[in-house]
Symmetry: C2
Subunit: 533 residues, 2 copies
């Protein structure tokens, strides 16, 4: 048991390949053998060189931007680095050498004043501006519409813990601060944020805010939108400080209008978040349930209880069978414990007294609800590998697999139907193309009224894997919409979910958003084409 | 210990006098004696007859509204009933016979279709429309701007539990359902909402949504905006279903744009809220702290802990001294327990196992933090009188006192400064008028990052008590703004807080709200003058 989470290096990801480049994953023999069982035998072609289009910003404009003090870079390397994110379609485009979405220039301000100044130049000259921070987008949120010239506004120099209110437990961060850096800075003061999405190593404070990120400890510490108490947002029409109190009845909660706005309403420059003391106790357990239904019912009971763990996660039978909760040992059969069924991970963090109180209550409930305790080993394995899942994707693509994830969220009474419908839609769409798919699923975020579903899909890649996946994704989107669920629980809208998103919220809400956009960004320079068309 | 909360009759309040008319309060001799100590000796003049202005809607328009099927009433009695709410300024205007804010007509639809039809007539003819449900507003939210003709859209016929999803624990209510009726309907199915504002006997589901109400169990069950998972909103430009999932990353959370919108963006016709099973155990305790600082520090420790009670409330020394937590015995000294200091109320509701777990943890913490356990008697007294506080106001006004409440919210590190500043501002403003004031305060809603402050002010009424109070309220508003706090924690903006509210959110946010208003209500018929000028 450690007091602090394992430190993670703050290292830039390589364009087109997920994760810390010094820590890439090699597939085990057991995984490679498993792939042959679904017909994956031929390696993918070697990635091509990425070609980016001509720069379409004149030198006068580049000079005006440079005059703000921000660094301007129009090199192919910089533009390729800021090209898209890390969805499978993004990775496949990289592999195909497609740099068509590249920004015309990369602009790196060093403070909020420069952000506002760059924004003014762009607004004045009608140049689109796409905020970039962690670069870990997986729904096309970085691929701004190039109908006009677009710069990538790289916020990675806006970094640091600007203020810590230890009494109110509020930390003010510059928006470009990466999550591991945020934890390091807080840790020096005895505090922790506790926001652990799988993109933890790359993601930033600002990026988590504008995409409504959810971390693996969401049942304990809340989603990122729960943690945010305030935002500073720069718009072409002024700067706004949003959030005067924890909660208020002073009109609509406008924090919730900017959270999830994906840079379309303004550029978030600072974020004030709720933090907590570094836990002195961390306990992670595995529990076994005979099937997904009984495991999900137990998750629901805990989500609807007043006493909750810090981490709660349930893999379905397929994911449990492939041991995906422990990516380092994926494909290998669990060495001990019951065979089949579903693995639940239950974690507690806090001080001795509060962990003891919650652990006792939760363990008793889980046993009553049909769970079998597996001890701490599966929990610790999960914890050690908690950011490793996405590292499997590139080697799987190399090996000739088509692999991607997708996620959604609905109310409890609709959860099993949604799981069945999405699974059927994806397996149907891929099966129809002659490529049977393995679809695995887990629940990793729960609420009193519902839960998220996170799917991992593996199939044999065809010659045109982009179209192959687009067909499957479209079928999934249709199934999600037909089931009345939300198109995304924590990956945001971007460009990939936009059509389904607009259907989900409907005409009145689209008009409300459009009105806000037009009022704050009358020339439409903020992240054009993202969130709203 | 009972399984259900005491049932409360659903009875209309009398215009100009708070609460169930069959259950009015008489001041005890000890209160009357206490009043003389701050110079209150002369009874207020007897209330005058209320005079309402001429009806300014032509018969053609009234016919068009009647054709929707809604009931139309232009009688003086109906218009007086729908005149303003129950703030002290409202009560004083009633007493002065001032009916100038009366709506031109009262329109009572029986279903959401009639609401939309009435909205269409009003939009077409430029008639303002002010939604009315519980009528318990205390910040002028019912006093729509009469620069144009205005109808009061009385939603009290839109009532009932429309759907109950026991698995997801979501109840769908018609917006006009009163809270006691909602609890009765849920109770028949074994469920409870658990939303207990002091206005419980009069307030409605829809009213709680559009004003971001907070109930006495907010630390356990959340504020009303936390409970809402979905809304149906009728606007002049279309009907919208808002909220597809518990939480989502599909853009901004637009529920939070309509919650707190006070009818300015649309008329809420149904609300989907999170409910819980009727608790089998309810325990309420009193705790004593030597002073407000140590009590507030203990509140903060619990608010920042993972294990929380269901109810948590702290009276300051002045409120504790006057025994205001137990209005039925107000003014009488507590019969037992320590003298002086501050009274904390701590309540637990749930099942045996979860209450036991939380009670043990919380009691241990409170003792460590300097609290002295007073047993269940003060807790049960508080619970019995939990809705009685506002019943004291009318008899106090009758007796010649000026009495009003106000509330605010800030972060923990700012709480004691805010309390001192508001107290000084109010006592200064009243003292300057020759009327020394008693200012009492309690904390009744806590969050990990901050808490609300609720003030009760009593002074001797001058001949023009409206101006007298306006001066004090203005001083309080200035102090709240200067301290960086929010102008209201749970009473909403209405007309009374509008000027300070616009300063609080600033130009960018005002423009965002204005844009939404103009997009959804282009002719400005929805609650004109409320929320936005």
């Amino acid at each position: 048991m450690t007091q602090r989470e394992t430190a993670v290096d703050v290292v830039d990801f390589t364009p087109g390949r997920w994760g810390n480049p010094n820590d890439q994953m090699k597939l085990s023999d057991s995984v490679l053998k498993a792939l042959t069982m679904i017909g994956i035998e031929e390696q993918a072609p070697a990635p091509g060189e990425v070609t980016v289009p001509e720069v379409r910003i004149d030198s006068d404009t580049l000079d005006a931007i440079t005059a703000t003090g921000a660094r301007v870079d129009t090199s192919d390397a910089a533009r390729t680095k800021h090209l898209r994110g890390y969805s499978t379609p993004d990775l496949l485009k990289f592999r195909a050498g497609d740099g068509s979405d590249a920004p015309d220039a990369v602009v790196q301000p060093t403070d909020a004043g420069q952000v506002a100044a760059v924004l003014a130049v762009c607004d004045d000259r009608g140049i689109g501006l796409s905020p970039y921070a962690g670069g870990t987008a997986v729904t096309g949120g970085l691929a701004a519409d190039r109908a006009r010239s677009v710069i990538s506004l790289d916020l990675r120099q806006l970094t640091g813990l600007l203020e810590l209110d230890e009494v109110s437990r509020i930390a003010t961060f510059a928006a470009g601060t990466r999550l591991p850096e945020a934890e390091r800075l807080l840790g020096e003061r005895g505090f922790e944020l506790g926001h652990f999405p799988q993109s933890y190593e790359g993601a930033t404070i600002g990026g988590c805010a504008v995409t409504r990120s959810a971390g693996q400890s969401s049942i304990g510490y809340g989603r990122f939108d729960d943690m945010v108490v305030g935002l500073t947002v720069a718009t072409p029409t002024g700067i706004s400080e949003i959030g005067t109190a924890p909660k208020s009845a002073a009109g609509p909660d406008l924090r919730q209008l900017f959270l999830g706005s994906e840079g379309a309403f303004g550029v978030v420059t600072t974020v004030r978040v709720h933090v907590h003391p570094v836990p002195t106790v961390r306990r992670f357990y595995g529990w076994h349930f005979s099937d997904f239904s009984s495991g999900a019912a137990a998750m629901r009971a805990l989500a609807q209880s007043a006493v909750k763990p810090t981490v709660l996660r349930l893999s379905d039978e397929a994911e449990t069978g492939l041991n995906l909760a422990n990516p380092s040992a994926a494909g290998a059969a669990a060495e001990s414990g019951p065979v089949g069924g579903c693995l639940m991970i239950v974690g507690f963090e806090g001080d001795e007294a509060d962990v003891e109180c919650r652990d006792t209550y939760v363990s008793t409930r889980l046993a009553e609800l049909g769970g079998t305790a597996l001890g701490t080993e599966p929990g610790e394995h999960w914890r050690e590998g908690r950011f490793r899942g996405p590292y499997m994707r590139d080697p799987l693509l190399d090996a000739g697999a088509l692999v991607e994830t997708l996620e959604t969220v609905t109310f409890w009474s609709n959860l099993e139907r949604l799981k069945a419908d999405v699974t059927a839609a994806v397996t149907g769409a891929l099966g129809d193309q002659g490529t049977p798919a393995v679809v695995m699923c887990h629940i990793s975020h729960v609420y009193p009224t519902g839960a998220s579903l996170y799917f991992t899909v593996i199939s044999n890649a065809l010659d045109d894997p982009q179209t192959q996946w687009a067909t499957a994704k479209s079928a999934a989107n249709t199934a999600i919409r037909a089931a009345g669920a939300s198109i995304t629980h924590h990956h945001a809208v971007g460009t990939d979910h936009q059509r389904t998103y607009l259907e989900e919220i409907g005409d009145v809400q689209v008009r409300a958003l459009r009105a806000v956009k037009d009022a704050l960004d009358p020339n439409g320079v903020l992240n054009p084409g993202i969130l709203l068309p």
